[in-house]
């Protein structure tokens, strides 16, 4: 039996005016690599090119289904895919990395994922996030690591009114409690 960090929050999150929902158990692999050929090869096995621009993410589909690759640093990426694929993806990435410098680590349970949707998303996040999330400053495709309230998050702008947060599993409940509190004024 598996338990996700926010399993006890499902109903409360769904009731929020930002329609929050946990996407538990996603396959997540932290990739460190800087060799362009290796990065291209890893993108090729996933069917999605790794992001070349800082603070963005890419999305695509391939052998492992829908995959997102998040820019976390100049030589650091997070590969996110559907549940139960972490072992084959890790093997595929290791194969593509070959003898190039780098590492691939299964970090699937290190963070959980919360999806927020609706017209209040940017307002609610602005209560705790100092990064400008105005569409002109943070268009879809943006991926920033920053502080939300008093904890670190990876924040993906996935659409006009949708944001995905990746948060460390241990603080997921804190973040859920904070989101619930920040949403109170937007509750109709």
């Amino acid at each position: 039996m598996t338990v996700s960090p926010l399993f006890a929050w499902t109903d409360r999150l769904a009731a929020l005016p930002v329609n929050a929902s946990e996407r538990p158990f996603l396959s997540q692999l932290t990739v460190r690599a800087s060799d362009p050929a290796a990065i291209a090869a890893m993108g090729a096995v996933l069917g999605v090119g790794f992001p070349a621009v800082p603070c963005t993410f890419t999305a695509g589909s391939g052998e492992f289904g829908d995959v997102e690759v998040l820019w976390l640093g100049p030589d650091e990426f997070l590969v996110v895919a559907a549940p139960d694929l972490q072992i084959p993806i890790e093997e595929a990435l290791r194969g593509a990395l070959g003898s190039a410098r780098g590492s691939v680590v299964d970090t699937s349970a290190q963070r959980t994922t919360v999806v927020l949707e609706g017209p209040h998303v940017r307002d609610v996040l602005a209560h705790g996030c100092s990064v400008d999330l105005h569409p002109s400053a943070a268009p879809a495709g943006t991926c920033v690591q920053t502080l939300l309230a008093r904890t670190g998050v990876i924040l993906l702008v996935t659409g006009a009114d949708s944001v995905t947060l990746l948060v460390r599993s241990s603080v997921a409940e804190y973040l859920a409690a904070w989101l619930s509190d920040a949403c109170v004024e937007y509750q109709t």
């Binding site: 598996t2 932290t30 410098r101 996030c129 400053a137 241990s170 804190y174 904070w178 004024e185």
Partner: protein, 944 residues
């Protein structure tokens, strides 16, 4: 008596609000402040002064007021608010303060929050200049924020009945506000005070969102919000405050700034009194006098300190029967709870004349509000014609417009606003849109300059410079007489400008009096530094929603719910909640821990160790890298094996410890202490990125990927065997300090045979998702053996019995591995590692360093308090007493059948067998020094 005019003012006369002040039931109207409602009821005396207990009233109409401090009692208790900034609501209960309030002992039920806002142009102040600036910026398509501390836009226009472009100014204001509010990308924030301006366009503003609603305030809405505004360009249109003149007994209720009286008249329809003398150094007070006279206030006299009265205004006054006495000043007042008489004399000397009145209106000129400009590091310049500091330079991203520059003519102020707004949008990368037309005012009192007069000679003990601080001219002269010359020093010596109002009305006058006393030019004086906050901000507002359960992130493990359900008490370790102990019925800490320890040493126990930091270290040079970080050799570790290691800083002091697992030829997993996980990962990245970028190593945190469960005790092997049927758990197949990948309770697991208790023990690692299920499976498998979950306290006792230090408890950044008796963990073979060179420094070689030892109280029932000092003799000598060290850990021990302690003691390793003394309250408790390992010294229990 009623001082409300039958008509006029932006109040709703059809609605009556009841409120209580000092126990007296009074009424007012929506649109009133507490101050205007009090004045309408003839109440001038609000409270009394902080030091001298003198009656104090209402000096100004806004946030610059130095005196009208009240305590709100209901609907919530809040101290130290200005009556002039409290909007009236039905049911308000308040009372005046004797200088200071008291915090409520009740929890504040209101909500508070913060919000980040980003913009191209921020405009502070919605007076004429700010409105034109904001609209100019808005028409360019920029993102604009306009903040204003009042509940409606208009600024100084709210306090006059002037016409702009031949129509009431309120209509002109309303048109601009309407366009702003309907322009996309524009945010207009009322009741919002920009209270701090910082680097890089960062401005903090406090919005009072529901205070004015009183009992009707919705509980779901944050009462106050701190806006965290990040702007590219700022236009400061912060206006100007009228300045008083200091004279003897200038602090009585009924003495008010002239423009404030005018504001009470026009904005609230309130008269300040029946008979008012006006004392001025400039033109503006004439308008107040004329307006009040036309509203029925008897104005017997205008005392103008200037040698000549302004001809046109004097003629207007004469037409209304108002005498104007030029070249005269007010030298003093009479009255107790309210001014009753004013003494008037020629400036210089001459016989005083006494005029009966109930109100004295004062104007000493205008102080531009330069606080935010100064906070933004703008340099100020003394304007001698104005008698005030004004913005003295252009800043790249901060512009000043309107009377904040010292300009008082409305049309000129609006032009400055338009210019500043246009320049700001251009600087932010936009093109100005349609030009905003400038309004023309019919005001008669815009003469910019007057006579600069700080004080009228008189009784200096009763000439108040800072009314709130009860600081007088005497205090200022005492400061200069004592040799103080800097305004900063004098501010601190006299406390002038340190009250809630931050010297808005007193600071400039104090500077002027100091300059006169010292015989120096104000132009050569540096004004005191303006610091945030511009107006008082409550701690609750600053805390926002970071309080209660959201005060700091609470980190929990995947098994946390089980601990809660099973009655664990928790200990905070860094941000983690860790089970401290699991009391059973009636057990206290000691009883529970003795039980948990006994069960673990005699059968089997387990704990949630998931909080341990875990870092995946990969790469060809991983071994080489770890050899540099740890004091011992890691590169020689064989795959499948585990080694304990110590890390030091370059100074040779222990910073962390933990186990290192060799996962593969090029891959290790290292653990850190719970509190140091992030710090050690940063430490690794720092060396890799800044010193050794050539090393092929990458570090990745996996702390929360894994749930970690130490299974401890002689029966742990049996329990493990039950849940891991495919694992050969025999001592031969599964040696101490090795690991195996297997399945535990059906899920993939890595089991490490390590021990932090001296007992046979395993550490089971599964992904966090499986943590709870595996924990429960272990509880079930262990039930035949009475498996006992234990917390951090038992873990601490078990390891202390074995003399294992805890980093941060036994160490404090001044302790070396050698001090801990861990020379065995320091490699002699490695040419270098971080900290090595420091071990041979003279300081590190001293034999009298504090070293880790055990302490056994001679009385085995005495528990030494942790942190106790240790001395050498059974009697305390005369101070200073030489301290040998301190107790770092102390517990009762089930295994030892007695109490024991660990301690850092000077030359401790040489003192084994000595008797030392620990002062506990009034007694000196004798203790015997021992080696730090107290239990199972031969390590017989490790293999079960």
């Amino acid at each position: 008596m009623n001082f409300r005019k039958p008509t006029g003012g932006a109040i709703d006369r059809n609605t009556v609000l009841r409120f209580t002040f000092n126990g007296q039931l009074l009424t007012g109207h929506p649109g009133d402040t507490l101050a205007s409602a009090l004045l309408a009821n003839g109440v001038h005396e609000v409270g009394s002064s902080v030091k001298l207990g003198r009656p104090r009233g209402i000096v100004a109409a806004g946030s610059e007021d130095p005196t009208s401090l009240v305590q709100i009692e209901t609907p919530y208790s809040e101290p130290m608010l200005l009556a002039t900034t409290v909007e009236l609501f039905d049911g308000l209960e308040a009372r005046g303060l004797a200088g200071q309030g008291r915090l409520s002992p009740e929890p504040d039920p209101a909500r508070y929050d913060a919000k980040h806002e980003h913009c191209d142009v921020l405009v502070v102040g919605a007076g004429p200049a700010g409105l034109v600036a904001a609209l100019t910026a808005a028409r360019s398509g920029a993102r604009v924020v306009l903040v204003d501390e009042q509940n409606q836009a208009g600024g100084a226009l709210l306090g006059v009945d002037e016409y702009l472009d031949d129509r009431p100014s309120a209509e002109w204001v309303a048109d601009i506000v309407a366009e702003l509010k309907t322009t996309p990308g524009v945010l207009v924030l009322e009741r919002t005070t920009a209270f701090g301006m910082y680097q890089d366009g960062f401005v903090l503003a406090l919005q009072k969102r529901t205070d004015h609603l009183g009992f009707a305030a919705p509980a779901s809405v944050a009462r106050q919000r701190v806006w965290r505004i990040r702007t590219k360009q700022t236009v400061l249109a912060t206006g100007a405050h009228e300045r008083p003149v200091v004279f003897a007994n200038n602090d009585r209720p009924g003495i008010m700034l002239a423009s404030s009286a005018r504001t009470f008249l026009h904005r609230y329809g309130v008269l300040p009194g029946s008979r008012a003398v006006v004392f001025t150094t400039n033109d503006s007070a004439y308008c107040a006098a004329i307006d009040l006279a036309e509203s029925g206030v008897d104005i017997p006299l205008i005392v103008d300190a200037r040698p000549e009265a302004p001809a046109r205004l004097a003629t207007e006054c004469a037409a209304r029967g108002i005498e104007v006495r030029a070249g005269h000043v007010v030298t003093g007042t009479e009255g107790s709870s309210r001014v009753t008489d004013v003494h008037v004399a020629p400036l210089g000397d001459g016989h005083p004349d006494t005029v009966v009145c109930d109100t004295l209106l004062v104007s000493g000129g205008w102080n531009p509000v330069v606080s935010l400009f100064s906070q933004a590091r703008g340099k100020l310049r003394y304007d001698s014609s104005l008698g005030a500091f004004v913005p003295g330079e252009e800043l790249a991203s901060v512009r000043v417009a309107g009377s904040a520059t010292g300009e008082l003519d409305l049309n000129a102020c609006a032009r400055q606003g338009r210019d500043a707004g246009a320049a700001a949008v251009v600087a932010a990368g936009f093109t100005p849109g349609g030009q905003v037309p400038l309004p023309v005012s019919d005001s008669r009192c815009t003469q910019r300059t007057g006579l600069v007069l700080w004080r009228v000679p008189g009784d200096e003990d009763a000439s108040f410079v800072d009314l709130q601080r009860d600081a007088t001219v005497t205090d200022v002269l005492r400061a200069t007489g004592a040799g103080l010359r800097s305004l900063e020093h004098i501010k601190r010596y006299t406390t002038i400008g340190t009250a809630h109002d931050q010297g808005k009305t007193s600071g400039m006058i104090a500077a002027g009096i100091v300059a006169e006393a010292l015989g120096v030019e104000l132009a050569d004086q540096r004004p005191t530094t303006f610091r945030p906050p511009y107006t008082s901000v409550s701690f609750a507002a600053l805390a926002g929603r970071d309080r209660g359960e959201l005060h700091d992130p609470v980190r929990v493990t995947a098994i946390h719910r089980w601990h809660v359900a099973h009655g664990a008490l928790f200990e905070n370790v860094a941000q983690w909640k860790r089970p401290w102990y699991y009391p059973r019925d009636g057990e206290d800490l000691h009883a529970a821990v003795l039980r948990e320890c006994r069960a673990t040493r005699e059968s089997v126990g387990m704990m949630d160790g998931s909080t341990l930091g875990k870092i995946d270290v990969q790469g060809r040079d991983a071994g080489k890298f770890l050899d540099m970080l740890y004091t011992n050799m890691m590169s020689t570790l064989k795959v499948g094996r585990i080694r304990y290691g110590v890390m030091c800083g370059v100074d040779g002091m222990v910073i962390d410890d933990g186990t290192v697992i060799r996962v593969g030829e090029e891959r290790f997993l290292v653990t850190t202490t719970t509190g140091n996980a992030a710090k050690i990962l940063d430490w690794m990245e720092e060396w890799l990125q800044t010193e050794w970028p050539h090393l092929d190593v990458h570090c990745t945190s996996v702390t929360e990927h894994w749930a970690t469960i130490p299974l401890v005790g002689p029966k742990s092997r049996d329990v493990l065997a039950a849940v891991a049927p495919s694992l050969d758990v025999s001592n031969e197949a599964f040696e101490f300090m090795t690991w195996h990948d297997t399945r535990v309770a059906g899920v993939p697991a890595r089991v490490c045979r390590i021990s932090f208790s001296g007992e046979l023990a395993y550490e089971i690692n599964v992904t966090a998702w499986h943590g709870l299920a595996v924990w429960e499976a272990l509880m079930e498998a262990g039930s035949p053996y009475g498996i006992t979950p234990y917390g951090t306290e038992t873990m601490h006792v078990l390891r202390a019995e074995k003399g294992y230090p805890i980093i941060g408890q036994e160490t404090d950044a001044t302790v070396t591995p050698q001090d801990l008796g861990m020379s065995w963990a320091v490699s002699k073979k490695k040419p270098d590692f971080i900290g090595k060179r420091s071990f041979s420094r003279a300081e590190n070689l001293r034999t009298d360093r504090k070293q880790l030892v055990g302490l056994l109280p001679v009385d085995p029932n005495v528990l030494l308090p942790e942190g106790s000092q240790i001395v050498e003799t059974d009697r305390l000598p005369e101070p200073p007493v030489r301290m040998l060290g301190h107790v770092t850990s102390s517990y009762p021990s089930a295994a030892l059948g007695r109490t024991f302690a660990l301690a850092l003691v000077r030359s401790g390793h040489e003192r084994v067998g000595e008797t030392l003394y620990v002062p506990v309250e009034d007694a000196l408790v004798p203790v015997t020094v021992t080696e730090s390992v107290l239990y199972d010294k031969e390590g017989a229990r490790r293999d079960g």
